[in-house]
Every structure is written in structure tokens, then in C-alpha cells.
């Protein structure tokens, strides 16, 4: 699977960024917008299945997801894979690698994905002249930390059924916030193998666990994806209360 194969190159100017209109994201000042517009050097469109960032690679790019789904993961030498988190529109990827030189995880596209590409050299300017954006970067990193804390709690201490319910409620909440569900379709584009690799379970046991959620009418497993039927039921089953932020920064 070739990394970073460009599908097309039409550009969305930051001023007309479709995400900026969503109430989920914080507004920019004119100055900020002007800088970010300059910070962005291009756009990238990749197919589902493409490896966007690869563990072990150096000086990787800094991206924001403009559309589509993806996931971050790590692998052990023998092929065991752990999915760490999912990425959706508005999410920044590659920050760890940008700050620390080497990617410690990979990112793969789950669906066709478009990415804003940022110029890593201008990160210094960002910190020097745009403290509010610097603050946002720290905020974004801290938010990711928070999600990982919850995932860790889930894998370490929740039962298989609770874990699965948490994951699906979590994905539903995030996807809803970024307006990923146009109209009625509420489908999460993952396979059961992805669920298994996120929950730390085998594919067989994951299948049986998801079946229980289906029998309780909380979800419906569709073709290569999952429809959420009762997100509150999922949250109740998992004991997870959801995130409360109304708005968040994005770059």
C-alpha cells in the first residue's frame, strides 16, 4: 500500500473551509485565519486503505483531516496490531512526529480522505507570533491524551461488552459532532477486525460481542460498517458519560 498517493489536487481555501462553519469548532480571528491560510501549503487526497503516516519514518508531515475517516495504530514485530484512536475531520495528525522527529505510530485511511498539508518550518513562527494557536496546539495534544486515558481505562478495566459499547458510543459522538452523518445514515465505516484491534480482543470474540449488542437493538452491523441505533443505550451499557465540550479548536 503506497503511502501518500495523491488522488487529486483541487484546493479548498481556508476562508471557505467547510469545517469552519460547524458550530463544533471555534472561530478564528482574521489574523489567525490569515496565518493558517499561509501555513497550509497544499491539499492531499488519498484512497481508503492508504497509509498516511508510517511508524518509524522521519520528518513526517503535519496534516489536518478535511474529510474522511482514518485510524492511528501501532504494531508489534509479529504483526499484532493495536488501534489507538480514530481520526475524523478537524483532527490534527503528525504532531508527535513533527515535534519529536520520528513517528511512533502509523495512520491509515478508512475511507477516502482529504488532508490539509502544513509547512512544518512555519511552526516556529506560529509559536512566536500566534500564541492563541500555540495554545490550541497544546489543547489538541491534551485532548488526545484525554481520549487515550479513557481508551486505556476501557481496555484495561471494562468487560468485552462494555468495551464494545463504549467504542461505538465514542465514535458516534465524535462523528456526530463533526457532522459526518449527513441526513439519516449513521454508519461507521469500520470492519470487525478494526473493532477487535481497538478493543484488544480477537476477531471471533469481537463478533460474538457485537452480536449481543445487535440482539439488544443497540446497533446494527451493516456491510463493512456499523449503524448506531441507540447511542444512549450504548453509553449506559458502557458506563461512559461522554465528552461535554461544546466547541474545540482546530487548525
Amino acid at each position: 500500500m503506497a503511502a501518500l498517493k495523491v488522488r487529486n489536487s483541487k484546493q479548498t481555501p481556508c476562508e471557505q473551509c467547510p469545517l469552519r462553519g460547524l458550530e463544533h469548532f471555534r472561530e478564528f480571528t482574521a489574523e489567525e485565519l490569515n496565518f493558517v491560510s499561509n501555513f497550509k501549503t497544499g491539499e492531499l487526497a488519498v484512497d481508503a486503505g492508504t497509509t498516511i503516516l508510517l511508524e518509524g519514518s522521519h520528518s513526517p508531515h503535519l496534516f489536518t483531516v478535511l474529510s474522511g475517516w482514518g485510524f492511528r495504530y501501532k504494531m508489534l514485530d509479529d504483526g499484532r496490531r493495536q488501534i489507538l484512536n480514530y481520526v475524523m475531520p478537524g483532527d490534527l495528525i503528525g504532531l508527535q512526529g513533527t515535534l519529536m522527529g520520528e513517528m511512533q505510530h502509523s495512520v491509515e485511511a478508512l475511507s477516502p480522505v482529504t488532508l490539509c498539508v502544513f509547512e512544518r518550518e512555519k511552526l516556529g513562527t506560529l509559536y512566536r507570533n500566534y500564541p492563541s494557536l500555540a495554545y490550541d496546539l497544546t489543547w489538541i495534544a491534551a485532548q488526545e491524551e484525554r481520549i487515550l486515558d479513557e481508551n486505556l481505562l476501557s481496555i484495561g478495566r471494562r468487560s468485552a461488552l462494555e468495551r464494545a459499547a463504549y467504542l461505538l458510543a465514542f465514535l458516534y459522538q465524535r462523528a456526530k459532532a463533526t457532522n459526518l452523518f449527513k441526513g439519516e445514515r449513521v454508519s461507521i465505516p469500520i470492519t470487525q477486525q478494526h473493532v477487535a484491534d481497538t478493543l484488544g480482543l480477537s476477531i471471533v470474540h469481537t463478533n460474538k460481542t457485537l452480536k449481543k449488542l445487535s440482539e439488544r437493538r443497540l446497533i446494527r452491523w451493516a456491510d463493512r460498517g456499523c449503524d448506531i441505533l441507540d447511542d444512549e443505550g450504548l453509553m449506559q451499557m458502557s458506563g461512559w458519560e461522554g465528552y461535554s465540550e461544546k466547541t474545540r479548536p482546530f487548525i
Copy 2:
């Protein structure tokens, strides 16, 4: 267990900070040092077992650990506990809560701990006037993210034996870097319950797993703690390669 009980209040000026001398931490410029010295409003000393920060509490403090060991954790309603990471000298705690209003995890002292207390109101000044420190804050958050990624991989995909070996090698490496082992004693001050709650295992199974590591002469379980006998053996057993940073920022 009362939170934040002050044990004494003698102060260490930042200029004479014992951590600053360690080669593990990056140097400050005179300006940075001057600001940080002013940013620090006091010092706190707490006993082992004290809850330093509590999940659910608001407007918490921002601290750097000056001495001692602690751990971050989350709990489910029914008491199941997951330890997320450990904190050691030089580690910043409370950043998540400071940025996002409410603590989503707790922090407890494993040993007597002294903390530098920072004035949260001056965080804006930091971002506005000290971009290098702002960068450091983002770096610190990204580094925590990286550790959580590795922990997640461990709990999700490593076997019990590998997990235990990883954890102990990880703690050893971090403790060594912060010079926590004066002389020969290489003892990590945790109980098997802590290990269990970190690895997502029961205490009984943790005991049996640690026994296997002892039999292989990789560790020795001492009184309320663990002596590392062969850290390379632990790393080999876990398949973990360790962190490569020579130096890191701290505030």
C-alpha cells in the same frame, strides 16, 4: 485521604533546582529561568497515599513534581481502577485540567512527594511571551500521548508476561533518567495491586506473572517494591525498545 495536605513549606529556588543540573533535562536561558521562577508560586509536600488531584474537580492546580513518585488513574463507578501512567521528578501534572476545566483523572502520591506549584493565571503570559516554553508544554503533552500509545499497545496486545516486563522496564528507564536511584538501590515503590491496576490484570494473576519474572532472575520483589535485576532482559521479553530521547524539556 485528604487532598493537598501540606507537610512543610521550605522552598527551593528555581535557580537552585536540583533537577536542572541533571543532563536529562534541557537547559533554560536566563530569561526563561527568570519567568519560571516567577511562575512558581510555592511548594507543596505531601505524604505517600495523598490524592494530589481528584477526578471531577474543577480549576485544579498546575504542578511539577520535584521529588517522589506518584501515579495517574481513572476509576469506574463500581471501583475498578486503571492506572494510566506514573509521575516522577520533572513531570508536569494538571495540564489537562488547567486547559480544559475539569480533571478527568486523579493523581496519587506513591511516596512522599514535593511539588512546585504554578500560577495558572500566568499561563497566558507564558504563551504570549515565552514561545519556547509554550513549545515545551506542547512537547510535554505530546510525549505523554506517546507513552499512553505504548501503554495501550501493551494492554491491548501484549501477553501478561510481556506486559509486566514492559511496565517494569519502562519504569526503570524513566526512573534512571531522573536519577531516582541514588547509589545501588534500584527499587520501584509500588505494590502488586498497582501493577495489576496498570496492566489490567487481577492481583492474583499479577502475582503469578511477577513470580515468573522473578524465577527468570529479571526482577526481585522486595518489600512493597520491585528491584530490577536485568532491564535488558525485561526489554527483550516485552519486545519494547525503549525511548531514545537524550534530553527533554521541563518547567
